[in-house]
């Protein structure tokens, strides 16, 4: 059965931090088109802080817990609670699971998404990060149900996340700051969806690498 140990997956959290810091400018730029342009700053401030608090050898659950804790503790506004609860819930879902397999990953993702929806109240089609998370989860679970392996599930999730991000381009924002623009919000990617796609892709790539390495 395909699985990755907590310890092997741990460094992926730092890769997610690096990805957010690297794409800070891009995230800010698309937020600037229909929002207030601070999404890159907000995200990289929180992720950088969390990265500083992690050390070599921390497992994935610990990494997510640290990310969640830092976002809830140091980032106000909307990103703190949304991504904060996302990572906190995922960390809890990973508790005691070592190694992590596809079933556990699916449960983890479900817990994370449920809490974001619970806190933020966004639905698919509102032009938020939920438009990345929801299809990503659906693709992962469908692959799992078809009996595919962890790696194939992750690959399916990654593709669906990217498509989900692209789907936000034609949406009219229904929630958050951009919703005030109405029709004018159409034609641009959503910033939160972009950061979310980046995080899921980095997570999938890291796990795929470790799966390959373990095989």
């Amino acid at each position: 059965m395909e699985a990755v140990s907590q310890r092997a997956a741990g460094p992926i959290v730092l890769e997610m931090v690096a990805a957010i810091v690297r794409e800070q400018g891009f995230l800010g730029e698309i937020d600037g088109k229909i929002g207030d342009g601070d999404h890159g700053i907000n995200m990289s401030k929180g992720f950088r802080l969390a990265g500083d608090r992690l050390s070599d050898g921390d497992g994935l659950a610990h990494g997510f817990a640290t990310l969640g804790d830092t976002l809830l503790g140091d980032i106000g506004g909307s990103m703190g609670p949304l991504y904060g609860t996302f990572f906190t819930e995922m960390a809890e879902a990973l508790e005691g699971a070592d190694p992590i397999d596809a079933v556990r990953f699916s449960a983890m993702l479900r817990a994370g998404i449920a809490s974001i929806v619970d806190v933020g109240g966004a639905k698919v089609g509102d032009k938020t990060l939920v438009d990345v998370l929801d299809p990503a989860q659906a693709a992962f679970d469908a692959a799992l149900e078809r009996g595919e392996g962890f790696a194939a599930c992750l690959a399916a999730m990654k593709d669906a996340a990217a498509a989900g991000l692209e789907s936000t381009r034609d949406m009219v924002a229904k929630i958050g700051r951009a919703s005030r623009l109405g029709e004018r919000s159409r034609g641009t990617l959503d910033a939160g969806a972009a950061s979310c796609n980046l995080l899921l892709a980095t997570l999938a790539d890291g796990l795929l690498r470790e799966l390959r390495r373990g095989a």
Binding site: D36, L72, G73, D74, I75, G76, G77, S78, G80, P81, L82, G84, T85, V119, G120, G176, R177, R180
Partner: protein
Amino acid sequence: MNRVINDPDQVVEDSLKGYLAAHPDLLAATGHPRVLRCAGPKVSGRVGVVTGGGSGHEPAFLGYVGPGLLDAVAIGEVFASPTAKSFDAAFQAADGGQGVACLYGNYAGDNMNVKMAARLAAKAGVEVKTVVANDDVASAGPHERDKRRGVAGEILMWKAGGARAAEGGTLDEVIAAAQKAIDQTRSIGIGLSPCTIAAAGKPNFVIEDGTMEVGIGHHGEPGIAVMPTKPAAEMAALMVERIVEDLPFGRGDDVAVLVSGLGATPVMELYILYGHVDEMLRARGITPRHRFVGNYFTSLEMSGVSLTVTRLDAELERLMARPARSVGLTVLGS
């Protein structure tokens, strides 16, 4: 931008040092750097009352911490919601075993952070119930009241909730009093010049000289109309009308009225506006029983005014009259 600051990213930290040094009789530090509590013994045997919000609105929010008002406050960056953990720490600081009433304003970030914090607090055995202020009539239509923002009316909600808690009301009673207060409250603002967040270094919105933005939000959120600046009497008429129609207030009502400057409006002009408001309310048979005029809820150095009116029943009248002491509002016992 020409300001009395050090590092623009440290304005909140720096000002909190000043608050603690200036008001040790009212404000005390807690284990959390962004949470202050009421000085003196910890809340015990009664409901604790908490709020929180972004900085830059001083004396709101921390200036309303004090006996008969708020027990603790969570403090955010300038114009940004406090973190979930800050709210949680404020709940812990205000808990005296009878639960905590969190009375805050309807902003996306605050909603989420309070919700998260209430969960954290529940895990620690602290019961939190909330009232969400939505007094700004300009921020959404009357059929979407849940989308309206909370503005200066929050002060009267805090007064009602704080007084009910001081009377020894249960958590449900405190929540009910605060909810009633905000349900009976309507506000509207007019903006005359923008403001600048020091860390940003330039205004993030524009108001042309000679025009006024009716219904502006406390962070410069767009209002319902931009028009040539009107004389004070017409501003008052516009504001009173919009408010009175929304509730609707009627002949024989007793009300509390609060006129707040947004930061840079000369105090004498707040009184010019109040004079008209008082006259117009009385002409409709509405009697201002409690009157507040000053810089009660600001937006940095924005210029403009907000008007808030609360309809009082016997309970709210009693709660408004109860003594309270804080930086922003002191009510003497009678």
